[in-house]
């Protein structure tokens, strides 16, 4: 259709927004329950440290992609370490995506059923959610980028507003003591924060589509990380500040409870935690959509097809079956551990190893601006 709209490319600013929206909702709602038992008072240090770690991992992804300009990982990985290991890597990549998305979908379903409903079966919640996500995942890249921007501007302000409102309940004394410092806990927390920073892995597939003439991609990625850090710090301040570290350790969904405790004298709005859940749903939706899209595009490119839509349908069904099998709480916890391990291993071990191999074979890669 001539050169009317460019559907297949994005600018670094758009990538930054896309990345900012992945996993942020979960980061605000679930992160205090996961990280505070590990790092206690110093969870904020864990958060910042984790951001630094995964930012470095993201820059390595960019550098690796720059060594093969215009190609996605499916195309250049066989040249790095052969086609057998490529398949293994892609399977690990897809496995990481599918496991983490199933865990996220299951936890999403649980929270919605627990807080918003009483007797609705979780299958209905997850099924309807996945149907809508599949509708989003079969769209093309241009649509998904615009959806991500829409939903970010739609849901981030209410979430931030609710977190700021919950500041009326905080007591500063709850943040102390500053020492003793538990180094092991902080490092563990930093490693565990992978699910809240994931999203830069999309660079493996989408880097060729980013049009980097005017802005610096690394700076864009850094600003997304800053956005995520600030939201997470807000959540931490509001939960630890109103409920103390011991309180947060004993509560399953601390952010929701912190927001539920908001009582504005003289106003008539109540039960603000339902609004927090409502503003979380778009984040969850776009995260799952982007990941199904990435997984289906990966395999679609590997097999040489043009259309990623059948793969999207297949992966949705797989995610549904996988998340349904996580009903049992202990299996669910195991899966959470596994997904963390997979994610950390992939980002921090496998792809940097590939980069090291490339540098060893080639020497310095020429940067493509």
């Amino acid at each position: 259709m001539g050169n009317l709209e460019r559907r297949t490319s994005m600018s670094p600013a758009q990538f930054a927004l896309l990345f900012a929206v992945i996993g942020t909702g979960t980061a605000v709602l679930v992160m205090p329950a996961t990280l505070v038992p590990v790092a206690e008072q110093h969870t904020w240090v864990s958060v910042i440290l984790g951001a630094g770690l995964y930012f470095l991992a993201g820059t390595i992804f960019i550098k690796l992609g720059d060594c093969f300009p215009g190609e996605s990982i499916v195309e250049y990985l066989p040249r790095i370490w052969g086609s057998a290991l490529t398949v293994v890597t892609l399977v690990i990549f897809t496995g990481m995506i599918l496991v983490q998305t199933s865990v996220r979908v299951q936890s999403f379903g649980r929270e919605i059923v627990f807080f918003m409903f009483d007797r609705t079966p979780i299958e209905v919640v997850i099924l309807s959610f996945l149907v809508v996500c599949t509708y989003g995942a079969v769209q093309d890249l241009g649509t998904i980028i615009r959806m991500a921007q829409w939903l970010l501007f739609l849901s981030a302000p209410p979430m931030a507003a609710l977190l700021l409102l919950s500041m009326i309940n905080i007591q500063f004394i709850n943040f102390f003591p500053i020492w003793p410092v538990n180094i092991v806990g902080i490092v563990k927390g930093a490693i565990y924060s992978w699910p809240y920073y994931w999203g830069y892995e999309v660079l493996l597939i989408l880097l060729p589509s980013i049009n980097r003439r005017t802005t610096n991609l690394v700076a864009a990625m850094a600003s997304s990380f800053l956005f995520k850090i600030s939201l997470m710090l807000l959540a931490l301040i509001s939960t630890i500040g109103s409920m103390t570290v011991e309180g947060v350790k004993n509560i399953i969904y601390p952010t929701l409870l912190a927001v539920r405790g908001i009582e504005l004298p003289g106003t008539f709005i109540e039960r603000l935690d339902n609004y927090l859940l409502l503003s979380w749903i778009p984040f969850g939706y776009i995260t799952i959509v982007i990941w199904i899209y990435i997984a289906s595009v990966t395999w679609c490119q590997y097999f040489g097809y043009k259309d990623h839509r059948p793969f999207a349908l297949i992966f949705s069904v797989v995610i549904y079956i996988a998340s349904m099998s996580l009903h049992d709480f202990s299996i669910y916890l195991n899966m959470v551990e596994t997904s963390r391990l997979l994610g950390f291993g992939f980002s921090v071990l496998i792809i940097p190893a590939a980069y090291v191999v490339v540098r060893w074979k080639r020497g310095r890669c020429k940067d493509d601006k």
Binding site: N3, F117, V124
Partner: protein, 548 residues
Amino acid sequence: MEYSKKQRLHKLSAVLIQASTAEAKDKLRILRKLIDSSAELGEDLSNLASHLRQVAAPEEEPFLFTTQLSENRNLLEVVFRDCDDVKYRYFSIGDRQAMMLYVEGMVGSDILEKFILTPLLQLKKDYVFTGLAAFSGILPVVSLKTSASARDCITAALGGYAALFVDGSAECLLIEAIQYQKRSIGIPQNETVILGSHEAFNEDLNDSISVIRRRCRDNNIKVRRVYIGERSKTAVAIVYAANLIKPGLMEEVEQRLNRINIDRVTSTASIEEFIVDHPWSPFPQVQATERPDKVVSSLYEGRVAIIVDNVADVLLVPTTYAQIIQSAEDYSTPAIVTSLTRLTRFFSSLVAIFLPAFYIALVSYHPGMIPTALAISVAEQRLRSPFPAFMEALFMEVLIELFQEAVVRLPQKISGAAGVVGALVIGTTVVEAGLVNALLVVITSVTAIASFTMPTYSFSMSLRIMRVPIIFIASVLGLYGLALSLMVIVTHMCSLRSFGESYGGNLFNITLLGDWKDTFFRLPATLLKSRPKQLGSQERDRGGKKDS
């Protein structure tokens, strides 16, 4: 009188065979069949005759003109058989016979008399006829052309041209003499503004184009004509600013228009639904307007206007959601006031879709979100009505739809009374009867009012369509269903493409940050220095350049 002996009454047909009604009916039936079949036969014969006539003619022409005037006359009389408004004027030019054919009502008789017949009748007897082209020096008319094509002659004659035939020439001279009754430039019916121009397009294509030309004396505003409709041959004009539009847009528009395969064009819908990418979507992807100032500012933003003859609306492509929400009045009121009204319009489009569903979700699924005092009061009100919230909402929805449809069809004199009846029925008595509670009436009326704030009427209709499925979803899954349906609507809007431009996706697009100056709010005109980046115009600066 007595009957001496019993007389029996007999039917006449027992005596006269021909008088029997059964036979008469039979014969009548046979007669009818004969008449029908002879009519069919007549049609077949005339078809055959026209096919025969066409044998010698090139494709699409019904016949070829000959040099014999009488032949031509016969051919034309056959073609225009039973068209009693087609008139023939016979006269002689020099020593030859001539015939002028015109359609009464489409031509101006004084033009025919003064400028065609008078000079021709004043030609002397010894005038040597050298060909129809020579008449361009005799006839003081502005537009004339010769044509040998019968199809052209027929179409032109029906369009208001007078066709002149002279014995000895196998061509006809088509003289423009168009004068018919049309509506004068009126005021806009649906898009009125308080400050600003009050002109609207009317049905005549040339008038519409002239109204646009009056506003921009720019030779870069190009007008191309295409003819759409196999039988109606409606003229459609494509108007665009050649040095500003995205390369390829005009060709795309023309290509899509030429692909339309339809026999008549009566409204914009005939064209609209053929050229959009997603005809099933409830969102209007083509904007129709009746204001010339809106068309001119759109042309200068890089959009293309499609003007259809006999339709008073002009279509503008490409269209995005932000443009549907803008109204012409926005540019006459101060920037801050406009920004507020724009934000209100965006907000009211959300309200118009989601408010009844939000009420249902809150009352049926999450009443804990309502503050305690209000919750108690709502519960007490709802004790009187027997229906669940979702049925009440549907009931009110149906009532409002009936009411809206009824008011549209009523003549103006009765619509005032209908308004009072509607207010009484819907507002007061439904609550008194205990069918519906008062809060729901408030919500329904707020929703209806919100849907009327849309500047484009077709969009307010599509909001109504979207409301009903969302009511169903909210009644099944509460607020969660509402959130999911919002996701579906956002995805749909972002995936819609109107001639390559994303429909709703560019509302929040960060690469088009400069466009935000005129979307949710409007900055003062001194700051609106560049064209919207979204439409991809070749030149972004509105300062204008001195070039040709």
